[in-house]
Subunit: 230 residues, 2 copies
């Protein structure tokens, strides 16, 4: 499938690499291709500069948000929370159309340091904001509650653990579910919470996620929902 991945940071790279390995035709989207490719430094998580990453992944394309949106039959939004709405605006409504979009972004506000607060929460969510701004786009919030390294390799953790999906369009959720199944997620591990307003619930997992990350000094953990025997 042709997939446009918004965001060239670690999340975008890890998702793109996995998609490429599965045979998909992937284009990363960024605001300014020349500027992104001109960066020399490793990013703050120690990842190589984008140009080095691109050189190591020659099948992955790089384009503007507009080009990546036009390229994709499906969109994955792997921008920061602050960048998400702007990225979609640059992509353009005509290129986004009614495509399914997996929205991984979280409205984390680091302006007052660590741990971050949320720039929107409780009675609204970033997932809803994106859906409202682009009513035709079929937003599926998901994968936003765990590190990208586990998003694409869930079996690195022992046993059963969970991700949460929500969105207004059942077909879009089914497409996302299929894709994530190909990443290694068992069907029962993908909990469908209902419509996009449920992004309030999953985005508000981040405040404890960042605290657990700080405590463990390691992002390799995930939430599991343990239930009584049915």
């Amino acid at each position: 499938m042709k997939i446009g991945v918004f965001g060239t940071g670690v999340v975008g790279q890890v998702i793109a690499e996995k998609l490429e390995s599965l045979g998909h035709d992937v284009m990363l989207g960024t605001r300014d291709v020349q500027q992104s490719m001109a960066r020399e430094a490793k990013d703050k998580s120690g990842r190589p500069a984008l140009k080095d990453w691109m050189a190591a992944h020659p099948k992955v394309k790089l384009g503007t948000f507009t080009e990546a949106a036009a390229h994709g039959q499906m969109i994955v939004n792997a921008t920061s929370g602050f960048g998400a709405l702007e990225a979609l605006k640059l992509a353009g409504e005509q290129n986004l159309g009614n495509k399914p979009m997996l929205d991984i972004s979280n409205p984390l506000d680091f302006s007052k340091g660590f741990p971050p607060s949320l720039s929107v929460c409780n009675t609204d969510s970033l997932g809803e904001q994106l859906q409202r701004a682009f009513p035709q786009l079929r937003v599926v919030k998901g994968l936003n509650t765990l590190t990208c390294f586990l998003m694409v390799a869930p079996r690195m953790l022992p046993g059963t653990h969970h991700l949460f999906l929500c969105g207004n369009d059942a077909d879009a959720k089914a497409e996302v579910r299929n894709l994530l199944g190909s990443f290694g997620w068992a069907d029962a591990e993908m909990i469908d919470l209902g419509d996009i307003t449920n992004a309030r619930g999953t985005e508000q997992l981040l405040p404890i996620w960042v605290r657990l990350y700080d405590k463990f000094q390691n992002p390799m953990f995930n939430f599991s929902i343990v239930r009584a025997e049915q």
Copy 2:
């Protein structure tokens, strides 16, 4: 130990029953004893009227918030989030003193129906509000992320699952941890997140908790944090 339990609803009853069974000297605290004992109807969760519950638990005492606070060497706050600060004010600073208080309450706002939003979150929390209002009281936020039936019987779920503790006083957290150990919680299942500001993280688990409860139509589940092998 003498323990004062604020709140006569299902959470207070279930906690009090467990404490009584462990040999503790428990007093439930309420705003108006006569009014609480006069209620005839079952509550919305189908629990018997308080007077019937009291008759079935003759060792558990019932008093005002003031009396229950004076009674307890430790306090358990099992009021609703809306009632918590008022209950503590009625208890009185001199009766609360510097006692350890396990705060189970959540700032759930049902005024716009289900699912509830939070009346405080993100850059503050109910746990912090209570701690600020009573600086000497040693507030430990905990048990607020699962149903009361599992709070006192964690082994009803299979395998490992977790609760989260936070608070400013290490000794108070140790006392709470000991008590919860006697409920059946393994030490490694009680994750200490640090100071009381981390209540922002645990109270913000409620938005997804209520959605999962609605989805499952069953409160018998809990969060487990699955980590990569260390």
